[in-house]
């Protein structure tokens, strides 16, 4: 049933969000720490387990893949609700701080990629 997939996905997200909030509270931070990341790992582990023991049926899988395919439309909606006015009209300090942070971060991606490949554990291409 399609709803099994949707429910499994929803359960993973709720559990991850809960754990992320708990971690945040434990370390005294007013934010969710990695909730979505935890949920993703959980979904990966659960679906890989069930592939071995009891395979997810195609309708169940489609309950997850539908939302995966809805990702880009949701991101488009997300773009359309951004506070672009505040970003554009905030003065040069905000623009400079934001832009320079992005440029510095972009520049370091190749450096880190090389770093990752040089680790002894990473004998194959990442």
């Amino acid at each position: 049933m399609v709803v099994y997939g949707v429910a499994l996905l929803a359960f993973c997200m709720l559990f991850g969000t809960y754990l992320g909030d708990l971690i945040g509270t434990l370390i005294g931070v007013k934010a969710n720490v990695g909730g979505v990341g935890i949920a993703m790992l959980m979904l990966l582990v659960l679906t890989n387990l069930s592939h071995r023991k009891f395979k997810l049926s195609p309708p169940t899988e489609s309950g997850i893949t539908f939302w995966s395919a809805m990702y880009i439309p949701i991101v488009i909606a997300m773009a359309a609700k951004q506070n672009v006015i505040a970003a554009v009209s905030s003065g040069w300090l905000a623009v400079a701080a934001g832009a320079l942070a992005v440029i510095a971060s972009f520049a370091l991606i190749p450096v880190f990629s090389r770093l990752g490949r040089e680790q002894p554990a990473n004998d194959s291409e990442g």
């Binding site: 934010a31 949920a39 990702y71 970003a87 905000a94 934001g98």
Partner: protein, 255 residues
């Protein structure tokens, strides 16, 4: 009467209206990608950019902070594009991701998160000093805003920064996320952003969930789960480091 009834029907069924809105926007964008750029600029990159342009005009006409979603008729766009559906869809992209690739890049991915927070913070803080700020609390808050627009206000509130400085930090974070959304697909070929490992590093260094989500969607949707995985830890790490260790360092340096 016809128009009033239509408006009421569209507003009442907000999310459904949003489906049509996004569908039309996506169709138009893919058509433009095909006809105007011959597929060179990806359709989703155009759609995201158009979305931002629409958000600009929405904000201009309503004076609100939620882009086009402040128009009652399109309030559903705010729900569809809100954090709940965004995170739900991000989690769904993990289905079918390569677990081995994530494990292989785990260490460098985690390292990139911590390094990314410190890097963006340092760049933002130095910029604030260059613009004449000398108060450690203001410098720290603006630096935190350059990490993400959530880390900024959380840090500012914790340290007791003025509302003007907090607003500035949010703006810096917004600028960052908008540039990441639009710019990623253009710089991707030059920085080797074409495999799970570099996507995880990218997510960790950028950290803005919305920026990373849109940036990777426009570059290669297959990379989304890897970048999103690390990016979701960024804001938490930022909220941990900025008001504590990083603030102490800033205060020591400025005094």
């Amino acid at each position: 009467m016809l128009m009033e009834t239509l408006t009421a029907a569209l507003a009442k069924n907000g999310i459904i209206t949003a489906f049509v809105f996004v569908g039309v926007l996506a169709w138009l964008s893919y058509w433009m990608s095909d006809k105007l750029t011959r597929g060179y600029v990806h359709g989703s990159a155009i759609a995201i950019t158009l979305g931002l342009v629409i958000a600009y005009f929405g904000g201009l006409s309503t004076g609100g902070s939620k882009g086009i979603a402040d128009i009652t008729l399109l309030s559903g766009v705010g729900i569809l594009g809100g954090a709940m559906f965004r995170d739900f869809a991000i989690v769904a992209t993990a289905f079918g991701a390569d677990f081995e690739a994530i494990k292989r890049a785990g260490f460098v991915g985690a390292f990139s998160v911590v390094f990314g927070v410190v890097l963006s913070f340092a760049v933002g803080a130095v910029t604030a000093v260059a613009f004449g700020y000398t108060d450690p609390i203001a410098v720290t808050t603006i630096g935190a805003g350059a990490a993400t627009y959530i880390v900024g206000p959380v840090t500012g509130t914790a340290l007791g920064a003025s509302s003007e400085v907090v607003a500035l930090s949010v703006a810096a974070g917004l600028v960052k996320s908008v540039i990441v959304m639009v710019g990623t697909s253009f710089v991707a070929p030059f920085i080797g952003l074409n495999n799970p490992q570099s996507a995880m590093i990218y997510g960790g260094l950028m950290g803005t969930t919305s920026g990373v989500a849109a940036g990777l969607a426009a570059t290669d949707p297959k990379l989304v789960p890897y970048g999103a995985m690390t990016a979701t830890f960024y804001t938490g790490v930022g909220c941990l480091l900025a008001p504590s260790v990083l603030f102490l360092i800033v205060r020591a340096l400025l005094n």
